[in-house]
Amino acid sequence: MILCPSCGFENLEGNDFCDQCQNSLTDLSIPQPRTDVEQGLLKDTIELLKPRKPLTVSPDDNIGDVLQKMVAERIGCVMVVEEEKIHGIFTEFDALMKVNTSAKTMADRPISSVMTTSPVTIEIEHKIAYALHKMHVGGYRHVPVLNKGKLVGVTSIRDILNYLADRIVVPA
Protein backbone atom coordinates (compact mmCIF):
# COMPACT_ATOMS: atom_id res chain seq x y z
CA MET A 1 0.00 0.00 0.00
CA ILE A 2 1.32 3.44 -0.89
CA LEU A 3 -0.04 6.49 0.90
CA CYS A 4 -0.32 9.49 -1.40
CA PRO A 5 1.73 12.31 0.15
CA SER A 6 -0.65 15.02 -1.05
CA CYS A 7 -4.15 13.61 -0.45
CA GLY A 8 -3.50 10.60 1.79
CA PHE A 9 -5.36 8.15 -0.46
CA GLU A 10 -4.34 4.52 -0.02
CA ASN A 11 -3.07 3.38 -3.42
CA LEU A 12 -2.26 -0.15 -4.52
CA GLU A 13 1.41 -1.18 -4.42
CA GLY A 14 3.09 -0.35 -7.73
CA ASN A 15 0.85 2.57 -8.74
CA ASP A 16 2.70 5.29 -10.62
CA PHE A 17 0.01 7.88 -9.98
CA CYS A 18 -2.43 8.45 -7.15
CA ASP A 19 -5.85 7.06 -8.09
CA GLN A 20 -7.60 9.94 -6.39
CA CYS A 21 -5.58 13.05 -7.19
CA GLN A 22 -3.26 11.88 -10.03
CA ASN A 23 -0.23 13.07 -8.12
CA SER A 24 2.98 11.27 -9.24
CA LEU A 25 4.05 8.53 -6.83
CA THR A 26 7.22 7.43 -8.62
CA ASP A 27 9.64 9.29 -6.35
CA LEU A 28 8.26 7.46 -3.32
CA SER A 29 9.94 4.25 -4.49
CA ILE A 30 13.39 5.82 -4.28
CA PRO A 31 14.87 4.83 -0.93
CA GLN A 32 15.58 7.82 1.26
CA PRO A 33 18.22 7.74 3.98
CA ARG A 34 16.38 7.99 7.25
CA THR A 35 19.09 8.56 9.82
CA ASP A 36 22.29 10.57 10.07
CA VAL A 37 24.30 7.37 9.93
CA GLU A 38 22.72 6.36 6.62
CA GLN A 39 23.25 9.83 5.22
CA GLY A 40 26.87 9.71 6.29
CA LEU A 41 27.41 6.33 4.66
CA LEU A 42 26.11 7.71 1.38
CA LYS A 43 27.99 10.99 1.64
CA ASP A 44 31.38 10.20 3.19
CA THR A 45 34.01 8.74 0.91
CA ILE A 46 36.55 6.02 1.62
CA GLU A 47 39.14 8.76 2.05
CA LEU A 48 37.59 9.61 5.41
CA LEU A 49 38.50 6.14 6.71
CA LYS A 50 42.15 7.03 6.03
CA PRO A 51 43.09 3.75 4.33
CA ARG A 52 46.41 2.48 5.63
CA LYS A 53 49.33 2.12 3.26
CA PRO A 54 49.36 -1.52 2.26
CA LEU A 55 52.31 -3.84 2.62
CA THR A 56 53.15 -4.93 -0.89
CA VAL A 57 55.11 -7.94 -2.07
CA SER A 58 56.01 -9.20 -5.50
CA PRO A 59 54.42 -12.40 -6.91
CA ASP A 60 57.79 -14.17 -6.80
CA ASP A 61 58.42 -13.56 -3.10
CA ASN A 62 58.35 -16.81 -1.19
CA ILE A 63 55.67 -17.73 1.29
CA GLY A 64 58.02 -17.95 4.27
CA ASP A 65 59.23 -14.38 3.88
CA VAL A 66 55.72 -13.06 3.45
CA LEU A 67 54.45 -14.84 6.58
CA GLN A 68 57.31 -13.45 8.64
CA LYS A 69 56.74 -9.99 7.25
CA MET A 70 53.07 -10.14 8.23
CA VAL A 71 53.94 -11.15 11.78
CA ALA A 72 56.70 -8.55 12.11
CA GLU A 73 54.53 -5.71 10.76
CA ARG A 74 51.53 -6.88 12.78
CA ILE A 75 49.19 -6.78 9.81
CA GLY A 76 46.60 -9.15 8.47
CA CYS A 77 47.00 -8.86 4.74
CA VAL A 78 49.54 -8.12 2.03
CA MET A 79 48.97 -7.01 -1.55
CA VAL A 80 50.71 -8.88 -4.32
CA VAL A 81 51.75 -6.19 -6.77
CA GLU A 82 53.73 -6.21 -10.00
CA GLU A 83 54.49 -3.04 -11.95
CA GLU A 84 51.97 -1.08 -9.89
CA LYS A 85 49.21 -3.49 -10.87
CA ILE A 86 47.47 -5.47 -8.18
CA HIS A 87 47.62 -9.19 -8.90
CA GLY A 88 46.25 -10.59 -5.70
CA ILE A 89 45.82 -10.39 -1.98
CA PHE A 90 47.08 -12.72 0.73
CA THR A 91 45.45 -12.61 4.16
CA GLU A 92 45.59 -14.42 7.48
CA PHE A 93 42.61 -16.43 6.36
CA ASP A 94 44.33 -17.47 3.10
CA ALA A 95 47.28 -18.56 5.20
CA LEU A 96 45.03 -20.69 7.38
CA MET A 97 43.11 -22.19 4.46
CA LYS A 98 45.91 -22.78 1.97
CA VAL A 99 49.21 -22.97 3.84
CA ASN A 100 47.95 -24.51 7.09
CA THR A 101 50.23 -27.15 8.57
CA SER A 102 52.44 -27.44 5.50
CA ALA A 103 54.11 -24.08 6.18
CA LYS A 104 57.52 -25.67 6.38
CA THR A 105 57.35 -27.50 3.05
CA MET A 106 55.68 -24.61 1.25
CA ALA A 107 58.02 -21.92 2.57
CA ASP A 108 60.03 -21.65 -0.64
CA ARG A 109 57.10 -21.55 -3.04
CA PRO A 110 56.08 -18.20 -4.55
CA ILE A 111 53.27 -16.29 -2.88
CA SER A 112 51.40 -16.18 -6.19
CA SER A 113 50.57 -19.88 -5.77
CA VAL A 114 48.46 -19.28 -2.66
CA MET A 115 47.20 -15.70 -3.05
CA THR A 116 43.61 -14.84 -3.87
CA THR A 117 43.76 -13.54 -7.43
CA SER A 118 42.00 -10.38 -8.68
CA PRO A 119 40.48 -9.24 -5.37
CA VAL A 120 37.50 -6.95 -5.20
CA THR A 121 38.77 -3.37 -5.08
CA ILE A 122 37.25 0.03 -4.45
CA GLU A 123 38.10 3.55 -5.59
CA ILE A 124 39.07 6.10 -2.96
CA GLU A 125 36.34 8.57 -3.99
CA HIS A 126 33.58 5.98 -3.64
CA LYS A 127 31.19 6.21 -0.73
CA ILE A 128 31.62 4.17 2.42
CA ALA A 129 28.28 2.49 1.75
CA TYR A 130 29.86 0.75 -1.24
CA ALA A 131 32.75 -0.57 0.79
CA LEU A 132 30.32 -1.83 3.41
CA HIS A 133 28.21 -3.44 0.70
CA LYS A 134 31.19 -5.22 -0.81
CA MET A 135 32.60 -6.42 2.49
CA HIS A 136 29.27 -7.53 3.85
CA VAL A 137 28.02 -9.29 0.72
CA GLY A 138 31.40 -10.83 -0.10
CA GLY A 139 32.39 -11.55 3.48
CA TYR A 140 35.76 -9.82 3.10
CA ARG A 141 37.87 -8.36 5.87
CA HIS A 142 40.07 -6.24 3.64
CA VAL A 143 39.42 -4.36 0.43
CA PRO A 144 42.27 -2.72 -1.51
CA VAL A 145 41.67 0.96 -2.18
CA LEU A 146 42.63 2.35 -5.58
CA ASN A 147 42.99 5.89 -6.83
CA LYS A 148 42.34 5.94 -10.57
CA GLY A 149 43.43 2.32 -10.84
CA LYS A 150 46.58 2.77 -8.73
CA LEU A 151 46.84 1.01 -5.37
CA VAL A 152 46.93 3.60 -2.57
CA GLY A 153 45.73 1.76 0.50
CA VAL A 154 43.69 -0.91 2.15
CA THR A 155 40.58 -0.55 4.23
CA SER A 156 39.38 -3.19 6.66
CA ILE A 157 36.04 -4.16 8.11
CA ARG A 158 37.31 -2.93 11.46
CA ASP A 159 37.84 0.57 10.03
CA ILE A 160 34.19 0.51 9.05
CA LEU A 161 33.10 -0.86 12.42
CA ASN A 162 35.02 1.96 14.09
CA TYR A 163 33.40 4.47 11.75
CA LEU A 164 29.95 3.16 12.65
CA ALA A 165 30.79 2.89 16.35
CA ASP A 166 31.86 6.55 16.40
CA ARG A 167 28.60 7.67 14.85
CA ILE A 168 26.16 5.42 16.62
CA VAL A 169 26.39 6.87 20.08
CA VAL A 170 25.47 4.30 22.65
CA PRO A 171 24.15 5.75 25.88
CA ALA A 172 26.07 4.03 28.65
Binding site: P31, Q32, P33, R34, T35, V37, E38, L41, L42, I63, G64, L67, Q68, M70, V71, G76, E92, F93, A95, L96, M97, V99, N100, T101, A103, K104, A107, E123, H126, K127, A129, Y130, L132, H133, M135, H136, G139, R141, I157, R158, I160, L161, N162, L164, A165, I168, V169, V170, P171
Partner: protein, 160 residues
Protein backbone atom coordinates in the same frame (compact mmCIF):
# COMPACT_ATOMS: atom_id res chain seq x y z
CA UNK B 1 15.61 6.95 18.50
CA UNK B 2 14.73 3.31 18.05
CA UNK B 3 18.06 2.26 16.55
CA UNK B 4 20.06 3.67 19.43
CA UNK B 5 17.59 2.19 21.85
CA UNK B 6 17.92 -1.31 20.44
CA UNK B 7 21.71 -1.12 20.57
CA UNK B 8 21.58 -0.50 24.29
CA UNK B 9 18.89 -3.05 25.04
CA UNK B 10 19.26 -5.88 22.55
CA UNK B 11 21.57 -8.74 23.52
CA UNK B 12 24.66 -9.57 21.54
CA UNK B 13 22.99 -12.90 20.70
CA UNK B 14 20.99 -10.93 18.10
CA UNK B 15 24.18 -9.95 16.27
CA UNK B 16 24.57 -13.29 14.50
CA UNK B 17 27.18 -14.99 16.69
CA UNK B 18 28.77 -18.14 15.30
CA UNK B 19 28.56 -21.44 17.12
CA UNK B 20 31.83 -21.78 19.01
CA UNK B 21 34.27 -24.41 17.87
CA UNK B 22 35.67 -25.97 21.02
CA UNK B 23 38.89 -27.92 21.39
CA UNK B 24 40.71 -29.45 24.34
CA UNK B 25 43.87 -27.77 25.67
CA UNK B 26 45.99 -30.83 24.85
CA UNK B 27 44.94 -30.88 21.17
CA UNK B 28 47.97 -30.41 18.92
CA UNK B 29 48.49 -27.41 16.67
CA UNK B 30 48.32 -29.44 13.49
CA UNK B 31 45.04 -31.06 14.53
CA UNK B 32 43.49 -27.70 15.29
CA UNK B 33 44.74 -26.02 12.12
CA UNK B 34 43.26 -28.80 10.02
CA UNK B 35 40.00 -28.57 11.94
CA UNK B 36 39.87 -24.81 11.32
CA UNK B 37 40.45 -25.38 7.62
CA UNK B 38 37.70 -27.99 7.38
CA UNK B 39 35.28 -25.81 9.36
CA UNK B 40 36.35 -22.67 7.48
CA UNK B 41 36.56 -20.75 10.71
CA UNK B 42 39.08 -18.25 11.99
CA UNK B 43 38.86 -18.96 15.70
CA UNK B 44 38.53 -21.78 18.20
CA UNK B 45 37.93 -21.76 21.94
CA UNK B 46 40.08 -23.87 24.19
CA UNK B 47 37.95 -25.39 26.92
CA UNK B 48 38.42 -27.94 29.64
CA UNK B 49 35.52 -29.40 31.66
CA UNK B 50 33.16 -26.75 30.31
CA UNK B 51 35.41 -23.88 31.37
CA UNK B 52 36.97 -21.57 28.82
CA UNK B 53 40.76 -21.38 29.14
CA UNK B 54 41.71 -19.44 26.04
CA UNK B 55 41.16 -18.53 22.44
CA UNK B 56 43.18 -19.42 19.35
CA UNK B 57 42.60 -17.37 16.22
CA UNK B 58 43.99 -17.15 12.70
CA UNK B 59 46.41 -14.52 13.96
CA UNK B 60 47.95 -17.03 16.38
CA UNK B 61 47.96 -19.57 13.56
CA UNK B 62 49.84 -17.12 11.34
CA UNK B 63 52.45 -16.61 14.05
CA UNK B 64 52.94 -20.34 14.35
CA UNK B 65 53.19 -20.76 10.57
CA UNK B 66 55.76 -17.97 10.34
CA UNK B 67 57.79 -19.70 13.02
CA UNK B 68 57.64 -22.93 11.03
CA UNK B 69 59.14 -21.27 7.99
CA UNK B 70 61.91 -19.70 10.04
CA UNK B 71 64.75 -22.20 10.08
CA UNK B 72 66.36 -20.76 13.17
CA UNK B 73 63.60 -21.48 15.64
CA UNK B 74 61.78 -24.72 16.17
CA UNK B 75 58.01 -24.86 16.14
CA UNK B 76 56.70 -28.34 16.34
CA UNK B 77 53.50 -29.79 14.92
CA UNK B 78 52.64 -31.69 18.07
CA UNK B 79 52.90 -28.63 20.31
CA UNK B 80 49.77 -28.53 22.50
CA UNK B 81 47.44 -25.65 21.78
CA UNK B 82 47.54 -24.50 25.40
CA UNK B 83 51.05 -23.14 24.75
CA UNK B 84 49.94 -20.97 21.84
CA UNK B 85 46.48 -19.77 22.78
CA UNK B 86 45.66 -16.36 24.20
CA UNK B 87 44.75 -16.96 27.81
CA UNK B 88 41.62 -15.54 29.39
CA UNK B 89 40.41 -13.48 26.45
CA UNK B 90 37.93 -10.66 26.90
CA UNK B 91 34.54 -12.29 26.85
CA UNK B 92 30.91 -11.31 26.81
CA UNK B 93 27.86 -12.60 28.64
CA UNK B 94 24.72 -13.59 26.80
CA UNK B 95 23.12 -10.55 28.41
CA UNK B 96 25.76 -8.09 27.12
CA UNK B 97 24.23 -5.52 24.80
CA UNK B 98 25.23 -5.10 21.18
CA UNK B 99 26.40 -1.56 21.89
CA UNK B 100 28.77 -2.77 24.59
CA UNK B 101 30.09 -5.51 22.30
CA UNK B 102 30.79 -2.96 19.57
CA UNK B 103 32.57 -0.73 22.07
CA UNK B 104 34.75 -3.58 23.35
CA UNK B 105 35.54 -4.81 19.87
CA UNK B 106 36.41 -1.36 18.63
CA UNK B 107 38.49 -0.39 21.67
CA UNK B 108 40.36 -3.69 22.01
CA UNK B 109 40.81 -4.22 18.27
CA UNK B 110 39.27 -7.69 18.55
CA UNK B 111 37.59 -9.54 15.74
CA UNK B 112 36.19 -12.33 17.87
CA UNK B 113 34.66 -12.20 21.32
CA UNK B 114 33.48 -15.38 23.02
CA UNK B 115 30.05 -15.28 24.60
CA UNK B 116 29.75 -17.14 27.90
CA UNK B 117 26.35 -18.58 28.80
CA UNK B 118 24.76 -18.47 32.24
CA UNK B 119 26.18 -21.89 33.11
CA UNK B 120 29.74 -20.76 32.35
CA UNK B 121 29.92 -22.73 29.12
CA UNK B 122 30.77 -20.78 25.95
CA UNK B 123 27.59 -20.46 23.95
CA UNK B 124 28.69 -18.40 20.97
CA UNK B 125 31.34 -16.37 19.25
CA UNK B 126 30.52 -12.77 18.41
CA UNK B 127 32.47 -11.66 15.37
CA UNK B 128 32.93 -8.47 13.42
CA UNK B 129 31.04 -9.76 10.39
CA UNK B 130 28.03 -10.64 12.55
CA UNK B 131 28.02 -7.20 14.14
CA UNK B 132 28.24 -5.53 10.74
CA UNK B 133 25.41 -7.77 9.52
CA UNK B 134 23.33 -6.65 12.50
CA UNK B 135 24.06 -2.98 11.81
CA UNK B 136 23.31 -3.32 8.10
CA UNK B 137 19.96 -4.87 9.02
CA UNK B 138 19.02 -1.48 10.43
CA UNK B 139 19.55 0.31 7.15
CA UNK B 140 19.13 -2.33 4.44
CA UNK B 141 17.99 0.20 1.82
CA UNK B 142 21.26 2.05 2.05
CA UNK B 143 23.43 -1.02 1.64
CA UNK B 144 21.57 -3.80 -0.16
CA UNK B 145 20.04 -1.73 -2.95
CA UNK B 146 23.34 -0.32 -4.18
CA UNK B 147 24.40 -1.14 -7.73
CA UNK B 148 27.50 -3.36 -7.90
CA UNK B 149 29.50 -0.52 -9.45
CA UNK B 150 28.87 3.05 -8.28
CA UNK B 151 29.32 4.47 -11.77
CA UNK B 152 26.40 2.44 -13.06
CA UNK B 153 23.83 4.79 -11.57
CA UNK B 154 22.02 6.64 -14.33
CA UNK B 155 21.79 10.39 -14.29
CA UNK B 156 18.34 10.38 -15.86
CA UNK B 157 15.41 8.07 -15.67
CA UNK B 158 15.09 5.69 -18.58
CA UNK B 159 12.06 5.64 -20.86
CA UNK B 160 9.60 8.20 -22.10
Amino acid sequence: MSFHLSLSTESVMAAYPDDPLIVAPDATVSQVLQLMRVQQTGSVLVCSHGKMLGIFTDRDALRWMAKQTDNGSSGCETQPLSELMTREPTSLLATTTVGEAIRLMSAGRYRHLPIIGTNGIPSGMANVHGIVHYLVDHFPDTIYTLPPQPDMAQAEREGA
